[in-house]
């Protein structure tokens, strides 16, 4: 293992233990790791934004010749002046720094919010409304060459009525009383099964993460052993 890899591993192991120490209680080690992580990660994403977006997608698009030294592919591209629009919107956004014209930043914000609402509206209608209705349309009775498949039919009924009852729970216009109350009660049970199953299923993922970390701490300890 190269010297640097070893140093990186050591620091990593120490940072891991500092974070874990929070589980016992808040303490100076955790505080240190937390504040360091906040500072470093904020800068990390900022640098990333400059390198993966601002330079290649904005600067290089508007003025390709200026960046050929770092972006070789830019040599052959024509300027794309459409990208002047996000540049302009970005400047509008920065108007927040000057209180007198700060209201201009709302224009940029409005473009973003309009974009989000417009695209979300149709996309969710397609993938989560229409497609999920389509998937729920199934026969309530299943017949195999051996005759009626009671269990499968029952399961299909659970699926269809489960969706219907749970949807009933979400109705805003109706108070949960009487028949509606009864149906939405069943709906809550369906949701509870889904939540319980989902929670139980997830435990595995969370344990996996811990296994990965403990494996990492194992390597960390082993690196001491190797040096001794």
């Amino acid at each position: 293992m190269a010297m640097w890899d070893l140093i990186v591993l050591w620091i990593g192991g120490v940072m891991t233990l500092m974070i874990f120490s929070f589980l016992y209680k808040d303490n100076p080690f955790y505080k240190f790791a937390e504040h360091l992580f906040v500072g470093i990660s904020a800068a990390f994403w900022m640098v990333k934004a400059i390198q993966t977006t601002m330079i290649p997608n904005m600067w290089a698009a508007i003025w390709p010749k200026s960046v050929t030294a770092i972006l070789h592919a830019a040599q052959h591209t024509e300027p794309n002046y459409v990208r002047l629009i996000p540049l302009g919107l970005g400047l509008l956004l920065l108007s927040r720094l000057i209180p007198r014209i700060a209201w201009l930043s709302r224009w940029a914000m409005a473009v973003l919010i309009g974009f989000t609402s417009g695209t979300y509206l149709v996309r969710y209608l397609q993938s989560d409304f229409i497609a999920q209705i389509r998937s729920t349309i199934i026969p309530l009775v299943v017949i195999t060459p051996q005759g009626l498949d009671v269990i499968q039919s029952l399961l299909n009924c659970i699926l269809v009525f489960g969706v219907l009852c749970a949807l009933m729970y979400f109705f805003f216009s109706l108070e949960h009383r009487g028949v509606v109350g009864g149906i939405s009660r069943v709906g809550i049970w369906v949701l509870m099964v889904a939540f319980g199953a989902s929670f139980g299923y997830t435990v595995m993922a969370r344990i996996s993460l811990l296994i990965g970390r403990i494996d990492y701490l194992g390597q960390w300890l082993q690196s001491f052993w190797n040096i001794l």
């Binding site: 996309r123 993938s127 996996s208 993460l209 403990i214 194992g218």
Partner: protein
């Protein structure tokens, strides 16, 4: 008895934490592997890849960060082994900035070690990370090379042999997503699969998997859910290609501590209910 009751009623969360830590650490030190039979949803993805004609073009997207490595890495490794054994061409990309490191990891750990004869640019290509999240899929759907003007090493995209026939996402035969959140499999389905009828295979953390069940089998060819899914895929792969029996068991080794930790949590749930009912009787 009273001491026991008191312990239950005032169980400090730190004791729970300690129990979980031990449940994971001890089996991991003892190193025991748990082989598992592939479930239908895993097998169907394995079969779908088996059924692709040789030299098919497959995207392998690394949409996960370092935080879910233990779950996602074995999946990416198994896919890489399977695809290269079947002589498919792998296009490796990442929608997550943090995915680029995992992509390299797969190349270093699996491709270069186990498939030294495979050539970058001919059998597999590292396209790397591009910003844009799901918007990137959107853009790639129209114009692949407009976004990826170079590969991950800075080589012009037109100089790479296996990129010659690619213009849009629709030129690919399958998209495999190894993911742990958003953007991930769901976005690949919404932005590529549903629009271009491109077969999508997912390999995601257990949490994500649950959300994707509704998309199977209509919008999704198959799904590896969490470590268990990965271990099952390893079983399928090893039973068809025994040469991976030695190297290809990452997920199976992690399944040992899983089993013990699950038992501890089950025990905690039982204890929680015992304490609840004892407490109610006391009132």
């Amino acid at each position: 008895m009273n001491i026991l009751k008191n312990l239950l009623f005032h169980l400090d969360r730190r004791i729970i934490y300690l129990a979980v830590a031990l449940a994971v650490t001890i089996p991991l030190m003892l190193h025991f592997a748990v082989p598992l039979k592939p479930s239908p949803i895993v097998q169907s993805l394995f079969d779908a890849i088996e059924a692709l004609p040789p030299e098919s073009k497959v995207i392998l997207s690394f949409d996960y960060g370092p935080s879910t490595l233990p779950e996602n890495d074995p999946m990416a490794f198994a896919f890489a082994r399977h695809l290269l054994t079947r002589n498919h061409k792998i296009y490796m990309m990442a929608l997550w900035a943090t995915g680029a490191r995992n992509l390299d990891h797969t190349i270093e750990q699996v491709i270069e070690k186990e498939f030294p004869e495979k050539v970058h640019g001919v059998d597999y290509v590292k396209l790397g990370y591009k910003a844009g999240d799901e918007g990137l899929i959107n853009t790639l759907f129209r114009d692949f090379k407009g976004m990826y003007t170079t590969d991950g090493h800075g080589t012009n995209i037109n100089d790479i042999p296996m990129m010659k026939e690619i213009t849009t996402l629709e030129d690919f035969d399958m998209i495999l997503n190894v993911g742990s959140g958003r953007p991930g499999t769901k976005e690949w389905i919404q932005y590529a699969g549903d629009r271009g009828n491109i077969p999508i295979g997912g390999a995601v953390t257990a949490v994500e998997a649950l959300l994707l069940y509704p998309y199977y089998p209509r919008q999704l060819k198959g799904l590896l859910g969490g470590l268990q899914g990965a271990a099952e895929y390893e079983t399928a792969l090893i039973s068809k290609y025994p040469q991976f029996g030695k190297t290809g068991r990452q997920a199976q080794v992690y399944m040992g501590p899983q089993a013990v930790a699950h038992c501890v949590i089950l025990l905690l749930v039982i204890l929680g209910n015992v304490s609840y009912f004892l407490g109610r009787r006391r009132k």
